[in-house]
Structure formats: C-alpha cells, structure tokens
C-alpha cells in the first residue's frame, strides 16, 4: 500500500532491476555517510578508530535483532516479541550458568529457548492463522510475564567470567559482538540470497497464495522466520548479558521498535516480499551512529528523542526519493 499506484508508472528498468538491491543499499550507505560527515564536523574525535569501533559495538545488539526481524518482515510478518524473548533466554541462560552448567550447554539452552519462543509465534501465525502483529503483541506480554515470574522480578547476577569473555572480549582488536553479528549477517545473506529457504521467504511474503500453489511450504517457511528471529533475539541477549554480567527479566524493553526501524531504514517493506540484509545492517549502524553522535554532542534527552524520530522519517523519505529515481 505504501507504493501508491499513482507512482506506478515509474518502474524499474530491466537493467537496473538486476542491481536494484544494491542500488537501494547504496542509498542507505549514502545516508550513513552523510550522517557521519555531519557528526565528524560537529564532534571532534568522532571519526577516531576507538569511536567507530564503539559505534559498531553499540549497534551490534540491534543489528542482531534486526536481521531476524528482516527475515520475518520479508515473509510478510512482524515480530514484536523479540525483547521479552531475549529476556527469557537471558535469565534462563544466566540461571544455568550460575548452577554450574558448562558454558556451551548453557548457550545452546539459551538459543534453544529463544527459538522455542519464536516457534510458538510461528505456530500461531502459520497454523492457527492469526495476524502476526497480534500474535506477537500477545506473546510480548506473555513472554515478559514469564521472565518476571521465573525470576520473581530480580536480576540474575554474577555471570561467570568464562562466559563473559566469550561475548565481551576482542579478537584481532575487534569486539566479539561485532564479529558475531558479522558472521550472523553473512549467514543471513547467504540464506536469503543463495538458498531455497530465502526464495521461499520472499515468495511467501510476495504472494502467499501463488507460493502455495507452486508448492512452497508456507507454514514451514513462516515458522522458520520466527524461529530464526527468536534465536537471534536470544543471541542478542547473550551478547548483552556478556557485557552486563547480569541478566534481568526486564531486559530488551522496546527492542522491537529499534529493530523494525533498522530493517525499514534498510529497505524492508512491511507488506512483505522485500528486504535487504546489508540494508538492515546499515540501518542499525545509522541508528547507532545517531545515538553515539548525539550523545557526544551532549544533546539533551528530549532533543535526542526528536532527532531519532526525525531521522527515521528523513531516512524513509530519502529512500522513497531514491526509489523514485531508479
């Protein structure tokens, strides 16, 4: 619906169509470069290596979530429950670690819990046939409540150093979270661009009925998207508790909005059938850069909020204009 038919006669040319994803991504990249340029003139040291690494590190959690969100959005759905999913898997992983469970096992359990949460969302969407927005709005409350009930509302403190160093250390001078998310992004890119599952996601989001007749396993495809989203939410929570050294049941508040914003800035269409992994990553970095830059400029909280809102709108307008020119 976003694309008013009045504008429908300015369509992709065939030559460009082949590169349309990368063109769109180039638009996002230009947006990022402009924002960085602006901040670098306003904030001394903004472009220092340390700060750039900082931005990446600070964007990594949102990027991780946004990757899963992108796949769900491409399949024509949405996942509002990523925050509480992260919270459940964080507190359970932390409890397991404290009770002496070996680190790899605890990690697997945490990821498993996240995927189970996603699986429930997927079942409700794909088999019961409910609207994704409503399903995940319902599980948003439900999962959060479960995390709170499980912990009695208390944080789980004292996560072992072994686990923390895994998610909080550096490798070749690059923070682990950044590396982890880079690997995840690469995997997501391969999944979307190179595997049948990726094509199924695009097909289901693009025209569910036609995909069905063509033999695409609709339910399995949708469930896969939610399971991945849940798993990545869990991964994000592991990164976070690695950094914080504690797992809280209220962790992940409002994460869904940031993740959706990153995916949308990166070119995902909430009508399904469209989205870009690279774009999403750039979208997450744009949001992270905004936060970082505004903080370094000591912009007051209310004006930061204003800037966040406006940047989303402006990014989408630039996107619209770029697509219009294509």
């Amino acid at each position: 619906m976003s694309n008013s038919p009045a504008a429908a006669d300015t369509k992709l040319s065939p030559v460009f169509a082949r590169f349309s994803f990368s063109l769109r991504d180039a638009g996002t990249l230009i947006g990022l470069v402009v924002i960085m340029a602006v901040f670098s003139t306003l904030v001394p040291g903004f472009l220092s290596e340390r700060n750039l690494v900082n931005i990446l590190q600070q964007s990594s959690i949102n990027a991780c979530l946004a990757l899963g969100m992108t796949l769900v959005i491409i399949s024509g759905g949405i996942d509002l429950s990523v925050g509480p999913t992260a919270a459940i898997s964080a507190v359970i992983t932390a409890t397991l670690l404290l009770s002496g469970t070996p680190v790899p096992l605890a990690i697997l359990a945490g990821l498993g819990i996240g995927m189970a949460c996603g699986f429930i969302n997927g079942i409700l969407v794909a088999y019961v046939g409910l609207q994704p927005f409503i399903v995940t709005l319902g599980t948003l409350s439900t999962y959060r409540a479960l995390a709170l009930i499980y912990t009695g509302g208390n944080p789980v403190l004292g996560i072992p150093a072994g686990f923390r160093s895994l998610f909080n250390g550096n490798l070749f001078g690059i923070p682990m979270p950044v590396l982890i998310v880079a690997v995840v992004a690469l995997a997501a890119w391969v999944l979307l661009k190179k595997t049948p599952i990726g094509e199924y996601l695009l097909a289901v989001g693009g025209n569910e009925e036609a995909a069905y007749v063509a033999g695409v396993p609709i339910a399995r495809t949708k469930i896969t998207a939610y399971v991945i989203s849940g798993g990545l939410a869990a991964l994000a929570s592991l990164i976070l508790i690695g950094r914080l050294g504690a797992a809280e049941p209220i962790l992940g508040n409002l994460w869904e909005l940031d993740a959706i914003a990153a995916a949308a800035i990166g070119g995902a269409s909430l009508m399904g059938g469209k989205g870009s992994i690279l774009g999403t990553i750039l979208g997450a970095i744009i949001l992270g850069t905004m936060r970082n830059g505004l903080t370094l400029m000591n912009v007051q909280a209310f004006y930061q909020l204003l800037a966040t809102g406006l940047i989303i709108l402006v990014a989408m307008m630039i996107d619209r204009a770029t697509r219009g020119r294509e």
């Binding site: 700060n51 403190l157 209220i250 992270g288 936060r291 970082n292 000591n298 909280a301 966040t308």
Partner: protein
C-alpha cells in the same frame, strides 16, 4: 578484587551526608580542569531533573563543569549505556550514574575502572559492583509512611498499595518496606497491592476499582508522586477525600502543591536537589583522592500538611533544616 554485591539499604560501610564535612574536612582543592559527567534515567520525571539541578548547583559552586544527560525514556537500557560509555570516551574525570536497572551500566563500572575514573551510583537502581553509592534508603520510604499510619490511625484498617513498574528496585523496596512495617501490629490489612506502572491513569483506574470494592479503605501508599496524584483524583471522584489518606514518594513540587491544598496527605521527600549536591560533592572528593565509605546516605522526610512549611516556602533553607533533622536524629 571482587566486591561483595552492594545493598545500599543495609551496607555497613556507610556515612550520613551530614557528616561529610565533619569527617572529611573542608572541600579539597581539585586538579586543574576537572569535569564531571552525569547520566540519569530520564528527564520526563521531575525527580531526575531536580537531581541534575543539584549537580549543576554544586558544580557551579566548586567551579567544575558538569554535563548531565539522560536516556530517552525510562527503560531505555541500551541507550543509557551508550550515553555513559560516551562520557568515558570523552574523558570526564568522574561519573555519576543513576542506572535504569541494576545491571545495565555494569560495563561502565568496568570501563571506568580500567580508565581510572571513579563512578558514583546515585540513587534508585543499585549496581552490585558499584564502589560508591549516594542516595537514600529506598525501603525507608515505605517504612515512614507505614509508621504514619500506625501513629495516626491507631485503630488500624484496610490499606492498599499502588506499585511502580514491576521488577524495578525502588518499587520493590518501597512496597516491601511499607508492607512489612504496617503488618507488624496486626491491626492493618493490605487489601490490594497492584501495579500502577509509574502511570497516573493506570493508578487512577486501579484506585477507583479498589475503592469500589473496599469503600472502608483508610489509605493508599503509592511508589511515586505522579501515581499518588492520580489516586487523589480517584479518591475525590469517589467522594472519599476525608476518609482516605494518600501518600506518595519523591517530593516533587506538584506533590507539595497538593499537600498544601489539603488533597495529598503526604509524600516522602528524598530531596533530589540536595542529593545531587551531595553526590557531586562526594564524587569530587573522590577525584581529590579522599577515601569515602561505600555508601553516603542522603536525607528523606515525610512531608505532611503539618510540617510542609518547615521544608518549603519563602526563606526556607532546606539544607539547614535537614542538617537540624540529622543532628536531632543522632
């Protein structure tokens, strides 16, 4: 090197704010170019803006520039972390943090330690690894209100609690302090303890429902003033303003106004401006190399119509009044 997890309410290594000067001497001279960075939960609540006022006030006095930032909304944990990390990057000499949750600023403690920057945890959520904490005793907020009921309503009765956001440290402690204290004599019954989510409208609706079911209720305790003011309206709408006492927490200016107007029965003021001053003073003393106990307790007082004039109004020097209170308590 691992510190025992901090419990700001019970920590033994503590000092009252009124003792700062007495025990540590006059305010020391600071290294040239000292600057302080502070980050709090949100600016949408007057409490945190007043805290910032206190920082600035003391900063001006000591000639130290203070940058005060806050997250975009309460609960924005990663945003707050980003801000705090930014402050470390920018080379502030000391950090004052009021974290969203007990855990979300843990990395700041670690990074600051690595960078040799002291960090003071100011009020509300408590970072277990914090080396320095300045603030009031959260539990005591609830305890004071409960004591008022025990003194002023000797015959007992039904009371209700409207809680803050589920799972938040301050909400849990305040509720717990009230519940435990008021139940001691056996005369009072806590008939409801429901979530108000720091939200006026939610609290209004909750209070309406509770009053309807328990028209003989004698009082409400709310975890903050915004919620208490919502409850006041619900009590008025039910026509029970003479029968039901309503207490809040924080001591924001609207609460004072309401108390003077005879609507809100009382609030536990934790004097955010003074807290800010004390916090920055403690932080700067750390910068100057002084040793401080792990907890510096800041004052609080139950404000009702009877004593409101003592704490607010023309020519009242709150600092002096609180000093007197402190002296009286010792």
């Amino acid at each position: 090197q691992e510190l025992a997890p901090l419990n700001s309410d019970t920590e033994k290594d503590r000092m009252d704010w009124s003792q700062l000067e007495a025990k540590l001497g006059a305010f020391p001279k600071l290294p040239e170019g000292t600057k302080a960075g502070a980050v709090s939960k949100t600016l949408t609540n007057e409490y945190w803006r007043s805290l910032g006022e206190g920082y600035t006030k003391f900063g001006d006095k000591a000639g130290v520039p203070v940058v005060y930032q806050a997250a975009q909304s309460e609960g924005d944990q990663l945003g707050q972390l980003t801000i705090a990390e930014g402050l470390i990057t920018q080379g502030y000499n000391v950090l004052l943090v009021s974290p969203q949750t007990d855990a979300n600023l843990q990395p700041v403690i670690e990074q600051a330690k690595a960078a040799g920057i002291p960090v003071v945890n100011v009020n509300d959520a408590v970072i277990p690894q914090a080396e320095h904490y300045v603030g009031n005793v959260q539990r005591d907020n609830g305890v004071r209100v409960a004591k008022w009921f025990i003194e002023n309503r000797p015959e007992g009765g039904k009371v209700a609690i409207v809680e803050g956001q589920a799972g938040v440290y301050a909400a849990v402690q305040r509720t717990d302090g009230f519940k435990a204290t008021i139940s001691e004599g056996g005369k009072f019954e806590v008939v409801a303890s429901v979530p108000g989510n720091w939200d006026r409208q939610t609290s209004y609706d909750a209070a309406t429902n509770i009053l309807q079911q328990h028209p003989d209720l004698i009082g409400f305790y709310a975890n903050n003033d915004g919620m208490a003011l919502g409850i006041v309206e619900a009590v008025k709408a039910a026509g029970l303003q003479d029968k039901v006492a309503v207490f809040g927490t924080d001591g924001i200016s609207d609460a004072y106004t309401s108390i003077k107007a005879g609507e809100l029965t009382g609030t536990v003021d934790s004097f955010p401006v003074l807290t800010g001053e004390v916090a920055l003073e403690s932080a700067l003393r750390l910068v100057a190399g002084q040793k401080l106990p792990r907890v510096v307790a800041t004052p609080q007082a139950l404000i009702t119509k009877d004593n409101v004039a003592r704490y607010q109004g023309e020519g009242v020097d709150v600092r002096a009044v609180l000093m007197e209170d402190a002296a009286a308590a010792n």
